[in-house]
Symmetry: C2
């Protein structure tokens, strides 16, 4: 069991972040914000996939106009992503954003920041202080030290204004730098953390870097909401985020499949069975029951894993033994394995 | 920089494991071992993909006959994977295996083990003691404790026979249990470790679980050779393993792509550029130069990341600024970006 760092609780719309709230999943729209309908469509798809908070870039006045319409029609809390221009922060708050994100690297005037803080306070929404290694304004020491220093200095302005509805992120494109930055920050404040590796690249690279970076910190109890940054379809970001959280048993998103890599011992088409079960389980993703399904190729680890699982099979020659709650129930022919497994999972 | 646990050095064929040797990549053939040509074909493909040690299941006398022919024609060191039957261990050693793997859960007779040890000593090959949570014989305490206990008891037999050419693995299908088991073992011996999460499931699940499990341990300096267990194509196991090692800067397998997830700010088709560059870089995978290429969508983190990288672009409106070694060189049209990046990478 992971003992989580005790962070102050903050709310983005109806989603609690910090305290004892479950680690939430975020993503960001990749459509042109001005295209209101496609942006709303992406938000709907993200929500269906399991995303809980979505960020939308507000980069100019036209985007701000569109943002107002998006916010009024969105079913998910929206964070306005602001860089360079403090007026867009104020406009986004007025438009009904559930939170805004400021980048200490490009919104630096103390006066501007104080005006934004007052407006956020009036509207009772939190502000994410999100620093990225790629937009650091000053570098002192290591990248991790510079990011932590940048955030700490920024926080002081907020605290002097009596504003503590803060979420913090310190993202580098380097996994180790990112981990180091969050660790440094974790000891020095109780604000909740948004975790992520920035610019983590395409699918596999993003999955691996985010798993190591976010996974390492979550195991240490650090992190309250996560975002996987991936070049490509944002739905995949959500899928990877769910895998990270369920791998660490922090959350459950339907049945977990334990399946062996297969080897020269395997006499059953295991990859096909796993693919078939996985496809048909997709409709059951909303089951939050932490059901464990073991699909194993042979007698070496098969019976053992199948016994540990709620439901399991251990492959034989073009056949498989079915296990339920640790007991062997019967033998199945290869062609009936998928149907029987799905039926057993549904019956659970 | 990761400070690695100092492990005794062991050799599997020409590949050093432990000591100051780089963390090596393993996989396992999934063909029927009796199908000599397809098994050799899979080994060749694995080698081309970057696999350095391959394991082959020897499950019966027919497989052993085939194994002899496979070993004699393989270009990669082969580890014979043995369960249940000690005679197959002896046969595999005689056949010229570069190492064998024994499972303490199913080869238990002290006398049998001692005969195998003597034979391995004569042939000067190491033995991997590979315990899996799914084939634990006795469970005392947590799964991690049971695995560590099982291995420790087994090691005693080896040490009494004066045999220390040992590699250890303690794999559970649960990420946290696996990490706990290796940590326990790391303090109590100096044998090199083979890391992996067993039965990690299909592609994404295997990538995420292996990244968190193997990645966490590697960051602590634990681990000398790794295997990603994935239901599906073994070449993907190697691809994921490489990503894990390069994410932690433990090894380099050609240029690293840093690319942003894109958002409503991006006015260039970044995903297409990343995909194009990635495709054309595949032929350059053998470049071990740790070159960093940043492909970024806009001016927020783009110039910063591009400046940190060896070569980089920061997207503009259907265009991009090219950076080299931190300096902006020129502006490019969207359609020339891929060609220019590839040319610049090749020129490096």
């Amino acid at each position: 069991m992971i003992k989580r760092r005790r962070a102050r609780k903050v709310k983005i719309g109806n989603v609690e972040i910090g305290g004892d709230a479950p680690v939430s999943i975020q993503s960001m729209t990749k459509t042109d914000t001005k295209a209101v309908d496609s942006t709303l469509n992406e938000i709907r798809k993200l929500k269906r996939a399991g995303c809980e908070i979505v960020r939308v870039a507000v980069k100019d006045d036209d985007a701000l106009e569109a943002f107002k319409r998006i916010v009024s029609r969105s079913e998910m809390p929206i964070v306005a992503d602001i860089h360079f221009n403090p007026k867009l922060a104020l406009g986004s708050i007025d438009a009904g954003a559930s939170a805004i994100r400021l980048n200490p690297g490009n919104i630096k005037s103390r006066q501007d920041i104080e005006v934004i803080i007052r407006r956020a306070k009036d509207r009772r929404i939190p502000i994410r202080i999100g620093v990225n290694s790629g937009s650091l304004s000053v570098k002192n020491g290591t990248v991790a030290e510079s990011m932590a220093k940048g955030v700490s200095d920024y926080i002081k302005i907020f605290e002097k204004s009596g504003f503590q509805d803060i979420i913090i992120s310190l993202k580098s494109s380097d996994v180790s730098e990112t981990i180091e930055a969050y660790r440094k920050m974790a000891g020095s404040c109780d604000y909740p953390f948004h975790l992520g590796i920035t610019a983590a690249g395409p699918y596999l690279s993003a999955a691996v870097k985010s798993s190591i970076g976010i996974g390492t910190l979550l195991q240490e109890g650090i992190g309250d909401t996560i975002r996987v940054s991936m070049t490509g379809d944002p739905l995949a970001e959500v899928e990877i985020a769910k895998e990270i959280l369920s791998s660490l048993k922090l959350r459950s998103f339907g049945p977990e499949i334990i399946s062996c890599p297969t080897c020269g011992r395997c006499e059953i088409d295991l990859a096909e069975i796993v693919e078939g079960v996985r496809e048909r389980l997709k409709e059951m993703k909303k089951v939050s029951l932490p059901l464990k399904v073991a699909i194993m190729g042979c007698v070496v680890n098969g019976p053992g894993e199948a016994q540990e699982a709620d439901i399991g099979i251990a492959g034989g020659k073009d056949s498989a033994a079915l296990f339920k709650k640790g007991k062997k129930i019967k033998n199945l022919k290869q062609e009936e394995v998928i149907d029987v497994l799905i039926a057993e999972i549904k019956a659970f």
